[in-house]
């Protein structure tokens, strides 16, 4: 069972929902589960759960490749420059030069080179870290090197590493995706059993949720929507409940900021708050319907 938490717009509460869901499953329901932080450009899931107390796995990711041009074979024909769709190769003093940061690592240049002068070699784009955070929750995070491309590739490697490391431990993976609907988010959603869309009742976030829903439908992934801070503008939700399959609404409360500042899931920090009560109801429904 793979559940992805995403939102078309950033900052609507993905990590808030994912971290509390993990706490709910492991501590309240005593159900083994693994958190997968697929927001590889801003990985914060472990932090929201108090940070790693023990790191059990830390490996550089070589999920991407980059071209190396053998200058003794190169005949300066310029074909590699012409075929590259990322404009990552240019002539500098009549010698082809690869801009590693612009390169997507597809290998078209190597395939097109008429004299076989280009080799594709594995290239490190970030790292994958796994371990235990507070409360015994297992978390695995992908961390893309700053300003690197191939975030989608790292997400794929992260998800397969998660399964390799933990499928004996648990079959329940909660994936915290990046903001947006781009490449890394598509890689997060591909193959998932359920997508939880986290939305706020603002026109910016509603647009994002509808765009994300479109992606989920293209990939044939089932989705439900949770509305965070619903009381900021509850009227707008009426026309969206069916369209977005809204199954829960969470009110605004400053206590959420406080729990973040304390790096403690709200369900633990203030279990008596109204937000916690609502979260518990929503998670119970999700558990009954999808994870039981």
């Amino acid at each position: 069972m793979e559940v992805v938490v995403a939102s078309g717009k950033g900052g609507t509460g993905k990590t808030f929902i994912a971290s509390n869901l993990l706490y709910y499953l492991s501590v309240i329901m005593s159900r083994k589960c693994v958190g997968v932080d697929a927001d590889v450009e801003a990985p914060d899931l472990a932090l929201a759960l108090g940070g790693y107390s023990r790191v059990e796995y830390e490996v550089k990711s070589y999920a991407a490749r980059r071209p190396v041009i053998n200058m003794s074979k190169c005949i300066r024909c310029g074909l590699c420059i012409k075929v590259c769709r990322s404009a990552a190769i240019s002539l500098v003093d009549n010698v082809p030069r690869v801009d590693i940061e612009e390169c997507e690592g597809c290998g078209v240049c190597a395939a097109a080179c008429p004299v076989g002068a280009i080799d594709m070699v594995s290239y490190s784009i970030g790292k994958i870290v796994a371990g235990t955070v507070k409360y015994g929750v297992r978390v695995i995070s992908g961390e893309l090197d700053v300003s690197m491309s191939n975030s989608g590739r790292l997400v794929y490697e992260l998800k397969s590493t998660a399964k390799k490391l933990y499928s004996n431990y648990s079959e329940l993976f909660i994936v915290d995706a990046a903001a947006g609907i781009g490449c890394p988010v598509i890689s997060s959603i591909v193959g998932a059993d359920l997508l939880i869309i986290v939305m706020e009742p603002t026109p910016q976030s509603i647009q994002g949720a509808l765009r994300l829903k479109h992606v989920a439908e293209t990939l044939h992934v089932k989705y439900v929507t949770l509305v965070n801070k619903y009381d900021l503008n509850p009227k707008v939700l009426n026309s969206l409940r069916r369209d977005l399959n809204i199954i829960g609404e969470i009110p605004f409360d400053n206590v959420v900021f406080e729990s973040y500042a304390n790096m403690t899931p709200l369900l633990r920090y203030r279990s008596d708050s109204e937000v916690s009560r609502r979260l518990m109801n929503i998670f119970n429904v999700l558990y009954e319907e999808f994870m039981g």
Binding site: K9, T15, A42, S147, I186, V215, N233, Y260, A261
Partner: protein, 290 residues
């Protein structure tokens, strides 16, 4: 001069700052351009209540066109496809899964029978709208498309054209969340950086990642949502002091959230008198660098 509004983490207030700062600057008679580079979910125009944007150009990415009369189902393209977007049904068919395709065209170059030809699919659009004297250009990714870089490249090209034609004094660019290759492209394109952060450990973590790639002497930090966590706020202040980065603080007011949710530009809302000095301070800091 181009000002990039970034921050690392989503939802810290990038779009809020970019939209309202650009609009406030345009109201002061400066020639301003607002560029929405958050192509996953462009919402500057929604935030400002501007008219619905109209397409200026369409961006395409590569898709393989398979000539079934030539293809002998050898599977070479399936083997090399880095995105696993091609599926071979042995002896029967070759299928493309559009959403997985990254548009690299490797399949076309490895096909021994030249059965894969150059096709294309819409990757996204560049659109334009206008709010009073403020032109807004917007990049939009087609849902399901992965080639974000192609949309950004076209957006920046249109941005350069428009800057010349309107003689832009300042260009404000609203960046998407994150710190990857798209961000690098936008950083290289810009001259000054506004990092919008909020007082949480998560935002601090993502800001620290960004400091590895942006020049801090060209950076102004916007410490947003002040009043939500005094401990994190003082931690931010001491880190910013240590890094010698200038910053401006914006208070957390429920009225701000409501103007944002109702698409009312801040300079046209009743709370503007409480915030105008903050926005003008940011504007002066930016202009002072010229």
């Amino acid at each position: 001069m181009r000002v990039l509004i970034t921050g690392g983490k989503g939802g810290t207030g990038k779009t809020f700052i970019a939209s309202n700062l650009a609009y406030a600057a345009s109201l002061r008679g400066l020639s301003i351009l607002l560029v929405d580079a958050d192509i996953s979910n462009p919402s500057t125009w929604i935030t400002l209540g501007a008219p619905r944007p109209k397409p200026v150009s369409t961006v395409y990415s590569f898709r393989p066109l398979i000539d079934k009369s030539r293809c002998n189902l050898c599977g070479k393209c399936v083997e090399v496809c880095p995105a696993h977007a091609l599926v071979l049904i042995p002896g029967r068919d070759l299928l493309l899964i559009d959403t997985l395709c990254e548009g690299c065209s490797l399949c076309m170059y490895v096909c021994p029978l030249k059965a894969v030809r150059e096709g294309s699919n819409v990757a996204g659009w560049v659109l334009r709208t206008q709010l009073k004297s403020l032109p807004i250009i917007i990049g939009e990714l087609r849902p399901g498309e992965r080639r974000e870089d192609t949309v950004i490249t076209e957006l920046l090209k249109q941005c350069e054209n428009l800057e010349v034609s309107i003689k832009a004094k300042l260009t404000f660019i609203d960046a998407p969340a994150g710190s990857g290759a798209l961000m690098r492209k936008l950083i290289r394109f810009s001259h000054t950086y506004l990092c919008v952060v909020e007082p949480t450990p998560l935002s601090l973590n993502d800001f620290m990642r960004l400091t590895k790639v942006i020049e801090l002497n060209k950076t102004i930090v916007i410490l947003n949502k002040i009043g939500t966590s005094p401990t994190m706020e003082s931690k931010f202040r001491s880190i910013l002091k240590e890094l010698k980065v200038r910053w401006v603080e914006i208070p957390f007011l429920k009225d701000i959230a409501s103007s944002y949710a109702n698409s009312i530009p801040l300079p046209d809302s009743p709370i503007w008198p409480r915030l105008s000095s903050k926005f003008l301070e940011i504007l002066e800091m930016i202009l002072g660098r010229n």
